[in-house]
Symmetry: C2
Subunit: 263 residues, 2 copies
């Protein structure tokens, strides 16, 4: 049996999602909680997105394959939340088809990148946003979004040293809101390269600071040169909001898994 869990976490105190030998990770803590609830029964666990240290999630999707399940699937969130620490929560659990794969079958992912754009830092957002003290031209940043949308080779927006088969990805939507100094960059795409959202956010910040002209973005993308794009923004501004699945080919239609809105 395959089960898909929707998991939210505050990444502040974790060395990222991926299990590691000597560091506390979200995967590791969730693994221990499941082990406790499944009472020794064997299982496998695979997340849709390997979020970095400090990155948050409201809709991480995690595929759990237990040998045996001694409690009803719909009770799993209650059971797991009772043993998980406060900064991790399971929000949903669903049975999925046997051939489901949480990475391969994801049709899109949505991230938000948050920037606090006032002269002084906001202590209530210090773990949940990047602070840019110089005023950003948000309209110019918004005008730049259209250049990223579509199918492109995003090699210029990929951390150097990462090995992937192809650096082509499709961005379906990129939007920026601004509310009293809290700038939020929403991006939805079919997949993201390593650090891609944080480098897009950094490039938009350079636009907002007047250091990159929006009209040069197509050339930056075309260059496939990491040095042409903007800085990599810090991890704590990033939140994985949602992973969407839809797999009509096996006759099983997964409902889109929507995370709650985060304010």
């Amino acid at each position: 049996m395959g089960i898909l869990l929707k998991v939210a976490y505050d990444g502040t105190n974790y060395a990222g999602w991926q299990i590691q030998k000597n560091d506390i990770t979200v995967h590791g803590v969730l693994h221990d909680a499941i082990k406790q609830i499944l009472n020794g029964s064997d299982f496998s666990l695979l997340g849709a997105s390997r979020t970095d240290a400090g990155v948050h999630a409201l809709g991480q999707c995690v595929h759990l394959m237990p040998e045996n399940l001694n409690i009803p699937v719909e009770r799993l969130p209650y059971a797991l939340n009772s043993v998980l620490p406060k900064d991790i929560a399971v929000l949903d659990s669903k049975i999925v088809s046997d051939d489901f794969h949480p990475i391969r079958d994801a049709i899109s992912k949505t991230y938000i990148y948050k920037i606090w754009n006032k002269a002084y830092r906001n202590p209530l957002l210090h773990n949940y946003s990047a602070h840019i003290s110089k005023g950003l031209d948000v309209e110019l940043m918004q005008e730049s979004c259209i250049h990223f949308v579509g199918k492109h080779d995003f090699a210029a927006f990929c951390a150097t040293g990462s090995s992937v088969k192809t650096t082509v990805r499709e961005i379906f939507s990129l939007k920026i809101s601004n509310s009293n100094g809290l700038i939020e960059i929403f991006v939805n795409g079919n997949g993201f390269l390593y650090n891609m959202v944080r480098i897009i956010a950094g490039t938009l910040v350079e636009v907002g600071l007047g250091k990159i002209n929006p009209n040069t973005i197509p050339a930056i993308i075309a260059s496939c040169d990491r040095n042409k794009a903007g800085r990599t923004m810090p991890p704590q501004g990033l939140t994985l909001i949602e992973v969407e699945y839809n797999k009509p080919e096996n006759g099983r239609q997964m409902p889109p898994i929507r995370s709650f809105d985060f304010l």
Copy 2:
């Protein structure tokens, strides 16, 4: 010379505002930062509100009386923020009249109390809200607000054991918003008794759970009996938003000190 500082802090890691011998407090850490910046010059420091452990602030007002000031007043936030930890920030500094008093001269204070009202906890709000998993009837809570507004003896909404001259306070405004499960209670009044906002929030929660009828609130207030009002909500949901001053009698009009909106 008197200086009024506007201070924001994440109260999670502090034993409240008030300086204490064996605990780390916001007052204590701010005191040390000022000592460092003033380079040994003597000073006094008094906050407008003694927030409890875990309570946050975006607009705490702090009166600083330095013997000597070796930097321009408007540079104080930059200087202090450079030595303060990330979870405390000075947002503003202004010169005030010699007879200014941060507690006596406050004409109103505004607090927000946040409740996360979904079945499962929100890890990104675990330090910034109270979690109520049962669905609250927010409309009923909103209808209850009017009963609190006005000048009342709020003895029923004061933690037992606190000694004050009078338990009469005036609430100017009490409003509740609800956005996708995040319920925010905004309250503005001329002053608040110990735990008063958290007990009002707790009473509104009992209304939302159907345990207290809104029509009985006037009788609860009139009873002056702490046992008649609702529970004391936990500290982490509470944020001091603003302290307003206006002192026309000494010919000096302080502009209202408005905190930025928090989202």
